[in-house]
């Protein structure tokens, strides 16, 4: 909302016809003929006087008290319809069979892994899990990145790690917190990270990764490397202060970062209409002075193309871009959630049936002759076996050695930690019955 008052109107009550309460168009063509910045008493209807205050960008003075409630909603870009048919031939993806099928295969693998690990949690074998159900198309965004583009995720982007080559063993080891976990068993499941794959370790606090992504992008810009940062988050996290902090500083310091919002309609049980009142997250990007795209988040090719274009802007112009991918969270928030408590099972089933990212991609592949039922079954069954194999192997492994508890707090152990470590060792030695370390790897 935005209100401006003319000088004359201050002296008396504002005549109602001078107040405009209807939505204004997003683009506004204005030509300022007057060079006098101080002239506010303009009788010439065509003359637009520019505002020169240091805080103004391109504003012009007006005698109309405009109370704007909304801008024109931003359109949602899509390439395919829900049947996987490309709507505009000009947008037909120019990709190889290998490239396209890899994306779909990874979506399938992710799906299979999610189902098995979700069940594992239900059986008490791992402590916690989060699925990607309904949002698998975000893998299309990973496909548009360079392998050295740094990823800062939230927690529902394991598919990007999978796409980059994180192995099933590596996923399982983290979920089981065993001695092979890259994270050394310290975090809850799904808090993956990999330096080799340029995927920053996930942390539970929401949106903290956003300003970090801005800083990381600034470092990349200074290094001269032709890379960008890809930062994922949900529409709920976009309410956090860190979101605003991040976009603002990315814009002012001109960082090559793509902020990718997965707007899946829910933040645990909180629906989007209780999360924000404006036109989604995309409308905020323009407010921060950055390039903004809204896409159909269930459309692999739309997500792919949007990321491609965003990446070009980020890498070539060193400017941040906001992408809002509209999608639907089919699964529960996590294994600690039962979404039937706040939405009908029918609503979920309807989404699965009418707008399914996997189905859309599969149908597109089949239309190209690059996929069929046989390949589907074959891939699903081999991946299922592979997941179960990794899973069984991970389950058998021990947890990291107890002494790992004290490492990496600092680069080197500090005196207080050395003392605390010694104290624990003595305690374990003195009361072995109370401190069973048989499930932990041996000390080096």
């Amino acid at each position: 909302m935005y209100a401006r008052v003319s000088v004359r109107a201050l002296a008396r009550s504002i005549p109602s016809k001078a107040i405009k309460a209807t939505p204004a168009p997003l683009t506004h063509s204005a030509k300022a003929f007057s060079t006098s910045a101080l002239s506010m008493d303009s009788h010439k209807k065509k003359e637009r006087v520019k505002v020169h205050f240091p805080g103004a960008l391109d504003s012009h003075f007006s005698q109309v008290l405009e109370i704007r409630e909304k801008m024109e909603p931003i359109d949602t870009f899509r390439v395919m319809d829900t049947d996987g048919k490309v709507l505009d031939k000009a947008l037909e993806p120019e990709v190889t069979e290998e490239f396209a099928t890899k994306i779909y295969k990874d979506m399938l693998t992710l799906n299979v892994m999610d189902l098995i690990l979700y069940e594992a949690q239900r059986q008490g074998r791992i402590s916690f899990y989060m699925t990607n159900a309904g949002e698998e198309a975000y893998i299309g965004s990973a496909a548009a990145l360079d392998p050295e583009d740094e990823i800062f995720g939230q927690y529902r982007e394991a598919g990007t790690l999978l796409y980059r080559g994180f192995t099933l063993d590596q996923f399982m080891n983290q979920c089981y917190s065993n001695d092979m976990d890259l994270g050394k068993g310290r975090q809850m499941p799904v808090h993956y990270g990999s330096k080799a794959l340029h995927f920053q370790t996930i942390s539970s606090p929401l949106a903290t990764q956003l300003p970090q992504a801005s800083g990381a992008a600034y470092a990349i810009k200074r290094s001269g490397k032709k890379n960008c940062v890809m930062c994922y988050f949900g529409e709920g996290a976009a309410s956090e202060g860190d979101f605003h902090a991040a976009l603002n500083i990315a814009a002012t310091t001109s960082c090559p970062v793509i902020f990718f919002c997965r707007n899946n309609g829910f933040a645990i049980s909180t629906p989007a209409n209780e999360q924000y009142k404006g036109d989604g997250i995309a409308s905020r990007g323009v407010g921060y002075g950055m390039h903004t795209i809204r896409v159909d988040g269930n459309d692999v090719w739309a997500v792919y193309k949007a990321t491609q274009e965003a990446r070009k802007i980020a890498v070539e112009k060193h400017k941040p871009v906001l992408i809002e991918a509209m999608t639907y969270r089919v699964g529960h928030h996590s294994t600690s959630d039962d979404s039937s408590a706040y939405r009908s099972k029918k609503e979920v089933e309807d989404w699965k049936r009418h707008d399914n990212p996997m189905v859309r991609m599969r149908k597109w592949l089949e239309s190209k002759g690059w996929w069929d039922e046989a390949r589907e079954n074959e891939h699903k069954s081999t991946q299922r076996s592979a997941v179960l194999k990794s899973f069984a192997a991970a389950e058998k492994r021990k947890k990291p050695a107890v002494s790992e508890m004290f490492n990496d707090v600092y680069d080197k152990l500090t005196p207080n930690l050395i003392e605390q470590k010694k104290e624990l060792e003595e305690l374990i030695k003195k009361f072995p019955a109370h401190y069973d370390t048989s499930n932990y790897a041996k000390e080096n």
Binding site: L182, T201, P211, A219, D242, A245, A246, D408, Y410, D411
Partner: protein, 363 residues
């Protein structure tokens, strides 16, 4: 202000009353803190933003001469070099200048740093190193901290400024939940060792609630962070360079009242002072006193007052320098010798950092 004492109630009350007296306006022994009234009367101008502490200039803890400064064994590396008269903000400026000159990835950023900073700590840096390396950020501490973490996560050196320690709290989540835990939670895959947060702290007299805080206790409770508080220009330069180069995120709290008040002959070369190591300022046998930052000058004065009342009183004064990790060994060795410990700090007594020191020594 917190005063913890372990033995000898008579000594306790003497020192306690001496310390309290210092914060009242008129004192018989040396006007250590000049009252606002007398400042106005003397100069006809308002007090400077960073406060006014003329007593520091008379302190024996300050190294007034070239030789005095270089006698310090910790400065052996620059013992043959030049020294230059610098106050604390100039010393801090010098440290950052050296950091920027010796590390291509280093950047300095925060609110108002580009024109030189509200306390002049960043004077000349953006002109010398460029606006891409020394730049202003929007007014958001969480942005500053998060941005710094991101830079450091990519292996760069990020020297972030939080304009007043009182305003560090919007960045608390980023510092405690992210920076401190970055290395640990990633199993060592990533770290933000290149991050250093500098922030002016401490009372100036007129600062009120929000320009006077000394929040070391809030951060001391966060493993993974280091917290450092310098007492003088020589210390500030060496400790800041060490903090910037240390491979862990460090919060460097600069007592703002010392920016102008403390002036020393500071080595112009590149030198570091050790983190995690306290410094024994005066050797003694009757009592160990531990403090940090500007409080050391208050303690010095308190000791002088006490020595007038108890001739022959021998006090071992220790500057802790690092709050986290803190030098347990030096303090305990001293207390083993003297048998008595007194700690004083600006921050509130209840659950202040003195409690940690007192408990550890007791254990």
């Amino acid at each position: 202000m917190s005063v913890s004492l372990l033995k000898n109630p008579r000594l306790a009350s003497t020192l306690a009353s001496a310390s309290k007296t210092l914060f009242h306006q008129n004192m018989a022994v040396k006007n250590f803190h000049t009252s606002l009234k007398s400042h106005y009367a003397a100069t006809n101008s308002p007090p400077p933003a960073e406060g006014f502490l003329p007593g520091v200039a008379n302190s024996k803890l300050i190294k007034h001469t070239h030789h005095d400064a270089l006698r310090n064994p910790e400065l052996a590396g620059v013992a043959n070099g030049e020294t230059k008269k610098m106050n604390t903000f100039q010393a801090v400026n010098d440290a950052m200048s050296i950091a920027l000159a010796t590390d291509d990835t280093a950047c300095v950023f925060g609110e108002d740093v580009a024109f030189g900073g509200v306390f002049r700590c960043t004077m000349g840096l953006s002109e010398m190193f460029g606006r891409d390396r020394v730049f202003n950020t929007p007014l958001s501490e969480q942005a500053i901290a998060g941005f710094g973490i991101g830079m450091a996560a990519m292996g760069s050196t990020a020297i972030a400024e939080i304009q007043f320690a009182d305003y560090i709290f919007p960045a608390f989540d980023q510092l405690v939940n992210e920076a401190a835990k970055y290395r640990y939670r990633s199993g060592g895959e990533f770290n933000v060792g290149g991050l250093c947060i500098r922030t002016p702290c401490g009372a100036v007299g007129h600062g009120g609630h929000y320009h006077s805080q000394h929040p070391e206790a809030h951060f001391a409770h966060t493993p993974g962070l280091k917290v450092v508080v310098p007492r003088s220009p020589i210390q500030a330069k060496g400790l800041l360079l060490a903090s910037i180069r240390d491979r862990n995120p460090v919060i460097f709290m600069e007592p703002k009242i010392l920016y102008r008040a403390a002036v020393e002959m500071v080595p112009v070369g590149d030198y570091e002072l050790p983190l995690g190591k306290a410094e024994v300022l005066t050797q003694g046998t009757d009592l160990t006193i531990v403090g940090w930052g500007a409080q050391l000058y208050v303690l010095e004065n308190a000791i002088q007052i006490a020595q007038k009342k108890m001739p022959g009183l021998s006090v071992e004064l220790i500057d802790l320098r690092s709050i986290l990790p803190w030098d347990v060994e030096t303090v305990c060795n001293s207390v083993n010798k003297t048998g008595r410990l007194l700690i004083a700090h600006e921050a509130p007594k209840t659950q202040g950092f003195a409690a940690e020191i007192a408990t550890t020594v007791m254990e």
